[in-house]
């Protein structure tokens, strides 16, 4: 009854646009989106053949409208539209290649602009691009191209497209950009977005790595600009797998141990981490998690190197992966009192095609260059081809409604999660009082909120020695594959101050028996390698469970996150191999088990 009462209270407030402000069966509704998308304004997108898909087209595609893909010029359309999108073009030389290739009048009046435009006319476009890239890598902008006028013009195009497409209650367009710090080829990129509109966006120019490539400087700028303009920024670090072990270090940019102040600032601006995207999955790898049989998913470790030499340094693989960062965060918290890596998790695409596509059978590539089967062999980045790319990921948000404010609020409280593409619905609550049959209750979500805390939250100490319980509901994507199993990943700090991890199988399809070591036999595989078809004869549509942590020690700080695995399905490259009429290259997986990662819930002893 409570559900309907609250829904109808919202109903009374709603506009004619919406009868239900909230479609869910609880205070929150599930929204799907992409917080990380590049258009033809990003220099690397432009030279890799995305010359036409601009922010406006990107929003149209996200809303489910048919658009033309660049290069192939085929009509493309999402099977299921997104609920929100942030277009986040690189702030470094955003729009500059496009303006140069269009022969922009103002740029042609500058010395460099005139020279480049002349070179392009003479067929030396590639050389122009190499010069631009050299500037970006050296973090030394040519100020004629990085001028206030150019930056403001391009920024205006970006936020105006978002304004045009933002429809509260129906579709949210977030204003944002990407800060693309790349010291010595180490990917320290962050996307930044905010819930405010153009009236706030016009008060600043996006901070770029040309101003500084140190995260500390970005956070200072965010703080200062937030104070001056009222922008409620969220920054999301991503691509830690190609950060050259620099993303989640034990030290700051100067090599000093992380302090309380650093931890506080970092987690204020970076409440969420992007765990999976086209350039690979960053959860963990077997080197770090040898006991995890599902580690090494869509691993991608190609640094973005364009010349230059790498400094010799000690390997710290834990700084490149998210699970190890969550664990490291507990250790740091034990020492300084604040956890700098107490972050929620999402997926997003990082597509440079302007097309936020993650469906394996409807994937439009990393770049326009590799959007067609014949382009899979081409190198979009040095040494990397379309076969290396992953058709991933999406950001899922449990928000009060589909508005800019409600979505950013959900990011701030970390009630978000990520998937490698499928829209697997995932609810996770932690508490001490769940009963086994709560997992079957029609009011599961309301019970979760009433008796526990949702993903992204802190589980308060019990006060008694009861074990914490997780209430979990995982549901398959309505138009995708069945589910294999639900797992709980637990991290904790032991007596010696060292973080540990364990993966528990907590719910699975069929009658499979659990071995004494906790493992479950594989679900099977229905993928037909000759047709790219699979069946839902194995797995299940829904898994719900109340799981109790019987290894719980109330004196140890810990986190729990949930990983949901789909049954095996064809990887996007299988469709390309079939289309090309070739054998699928052996060095890549042709079949994958897609997954969802919840944000963690943390436990801190009294």
């Amino acid at each position: 009854m409570k559900t309907l009462t609250s829904t109808f209270a919202l109903l009374a407030l709603s506009s004619s646009l919406q009868v239900f402000a909230n479609e869910g069966d609880a205070p929150t509704v599930l929204l799907w989106g992409d917080t990380h998308l590049h258009t033809n304004l990003s220099p690397d997108a432009y030279v890799n053949k995305n010359t036409n898909v601009d922010p406006d087209t990107a929003y149209r595609f996200a809303k489910g409208l048919p658009v033309m893909s660049d290069d192939t010029r085929a009509k493309v359309r999402l099977h299921t539209p997104l609920d929100f999108l942030a277009v986040t073009d690189h702030a470094e030389y955003a729009g500059v290649p496009k303006m140069l290739w269009d022969g922009d009048e103002e740029l042609s009046k500058t010395k460099t602009g005139a020279r480049y435009i002349e070179m392009i006319k003479n067929g030396k476009g590639t050389d122009v691009f190499f010069e631009l890239i050299a500037d970006v890598n050296a973090a030394k902008p040519n100020m004629e191209l990085h001028s206030q006028r150019v930056r403001d013009t391009v920024w205006k195009e970006i936020y105006e497209a978002a304004e045009k497409h933002n429809e509260p209650g129906k579709f949210t367009a977030l204003i944002g950009w990407e800060w693309s710090s790349l010291p010595n080829g180490s990917n320290l990129h962050r996307v930044v977005f905010m819930p405010e509109d153009a009236s706030v966006a016009e008060k600043f120019t996006p901070y770029s790595a040309f101003e500084s490539d140190r995260p500390e400087d970005l956070w200072n700028w965010l703080e200062k600009t937030a104070d001056e303009t009222g922008a409620n920024f969220v920054a999301i670090p991503h691509g830690s797998n190609i950060s050259n072990d620099l993303m989640f270090q034990n030290v700051d940019s100067d090599g000093n141990a992380i302090t309380k102040e650093y931890a506080k600032t970092r987690i204020r601006w970076e409440p969420v981490i992007e765990i999976t995207q086209i350039k690979g999955d960053s959860e963990t790898k077997s080197e770090l998690s040898p006991e995890d049989e599902f580690a090494d998913f869509e691993t991608y470790e190609h640094l973005i190197k364009v010349g230059g030499t790498e400094e010799e340094k000690e390997a710290d693989p834990a700084a490149s992966y998210v699970r190890s960062a969550l664990m490291r965060g507990l250790e740091i918290e034990q020492k300084v009192g604040i956890n700098p890596y107490k972050a929620g998790l999402v997926g997003s695409t990082d597509a440079h095609t302007g097309l936020a596509s993650t469906e394996e059978d409807n994937f439009w590539g990393k770049f326009s260059l590799d959007s067609k089967p014949e382009g899979k062999d081409l190198e979009g980045a040095p040494g990397v081809t379309g076969w290396d790319m992953s058709a991933s990921g999406l950001a899922a948000v449990w928000a009060k409604e589909n508005t800019r404010e409600a979505i950013v609020e959900a990011f701030k409280r970390k009630e978000v999660y990520g998937t490698s593409g499928p829209r697997i619905k995932l609810r996770v609550f932690a508490g001490y009082d769940f009963k086994d049959n709560d997992a079957e209750s029609a009011d599961l979500a309301n019970i979760g909120y009433d008796k526990g805390v949702p993903m992204g939250s802190d589980l308060p100490p019990a006060g008694k020695r009861d074990n914490p319980k997780l209430l979990i509901q995982a549901v398959k994507d309505p138009i995708d594959a069945n589910l294999d199993r639900v797992q709980v990943v637990k991290g904790w700090v032991d007596d010696s101050g060292k973080a540990q991890e364990k993966v528990y199988n907590v719910a699975w399809s069929g009658e499979r028996k659990q071995s004494s070591d906790g493992s479950i036999e594989a679900v099977g595989n229905t993928v037909d390698m000759d047709t790219g078809l699979y069946t839902n004869d194995i797995g299940t549509e829904q898994l719900t469970v109340v799981w109790e942590d019987e290894d719980f020690d109330p004196d140890m700080r810990a986190f729990y996150y949930v990983r949901v695995l789909q049954i095996p399905t064809p990887r996007h490259t299988l469709f390309d191999a079939l289309a090309l009429g070739i054998e699928h290259p052996e060095e890549y997986d042709a079949v994958i088990q897609e997954r969802a990662y919840s944000s963690p819930i943390w436990y801190t002893p009294k």
């Binding site: 239900f20 479609e23 869910g24 509901q473 309505p478």
Partner: protein
């Protein structure tokens, strides 16, 4: 006049194609049984293979190829060349409809490729767009949407001996004729949503199956006070209350002006493509002898 000719993109392409063809021809003789593998041939092969004619980039890629990739490239080149020459020597290229079709495709590709959007007309005034819109209203029809809530009775419920359908019927009666309200209804956990706001039939079908979605859209009435059904889905039985149904609708021009403009431009492009192919056809005289 001369400069006009040189601005003609088709000519550029033909010149470029001709140049590569010449380079290819100059360095290989299709009729011998020695296949010459040199950098020039491999570079040309690579560019054709990827349909990316950028000599500088190709050269750079080539120079950085790791030994095993170079080996693979040589192997593929040799294989292709050998099979090609053998086919030529067997005259397999003559009177082959597939080859003819391929050449036609290539020609079409050239004709299309050089009519990219920069050549497209921008509509000079709104009247043009409105005229276009009036002629294409069918393209802009917005599908019907429904807003409803449902109570769910699972086929797998373990708490009762009654069937899901019986429970749904009971609930329907209780809710419409009794006075105990929703509180008294023991419904089950439904995987997806309890409420649906302004959703198209396709989404409803993905959550409840096609027959359910069809019934919901065609066999219910909009009535905030009335529970209806029960309807069956693959999950069990449902009773529904329909709040709003927005029938299929034709939007006004003003609502979708930008989209119309984009579609108009795209249509222009298509027509230009068509015209450039017709131009080629027009260069030939047709003589019909039946």
């Amino acid at each position: 006049m001369i400069s006009q000719i040189f601005r003609e993109p088709l000519l550029h392409f033909l010149l470029l194609g001709g140049f590569i063809y010449w380079a290819f021809e100059a360095s290989s003789d299709d009729s011998t049984d020695t296949i010459l593998v040199d950098k020039k041939n491999l570079l040309t092969f690579m560019q054709y293979r990827y349909q990316a004619f950028d000599p500088q980039q190709a050269d750079k890629t080539f120079n950085n190829l790791p030994p095993e990739k170079l080996q693979a490239l040589i192997k593929e080149y040799t294989r292709e060349e050998a099979l090609y020459r053998q086919a030529l020597s067997l005259n397999l290229d003559k009177n082959d409809y597939i080859i003819k079709k391929r050449l036609i495709q290539k020609m079409e590709y050239i004709a299309e490729d050089f009519n990219l959007p920069d050549n497209a007309d921008t509509p000079d005034n709104e009247q043009t767009l409105i005229a276009y819109f009036n002629g294409h209203q069918q393209d802009y029809v917005q599908p019907d949407y429904i807003t409803f809530t449902h109570q769910f009775f699972s086929n797998d419920s373990k708490t009762t001996s009654l069937s899901a359908q019986q429970r749904a019927l009971q609930a329907l009666d209780q809710l419409n004729n009794g006075d105990s309200g929703l509180q008294a209804i023991k419904q089950d956990l439904f995987m997806y949503n309890r409420h649906y706001a302004e959703r198209p039939q396709s989404l409803v079908a993905s959550h409840f199956g096609d027959p359910f979605a069809q019934q919901l859209f065609t066999q219910t009435t909009v009535n905030e006070a009335l529970w209806q059904g029960p309807f069956e889905s693959p999950h069990g039985w449902h009773i529904v209350k329909v709040f709003k149904r927005q029938p299929e609708k034709y939007p006004e021009f003003a609502e979708i002006k930008d989209q119309v403009k984009e579609d108009y431009l795209r249509e222009q492009l298509r027509q230009q493509k068509q015209q450039s192919i017709e131009k080629i056809v027009d260069q030939y005289q047709t003589k019909v002898e039946l």
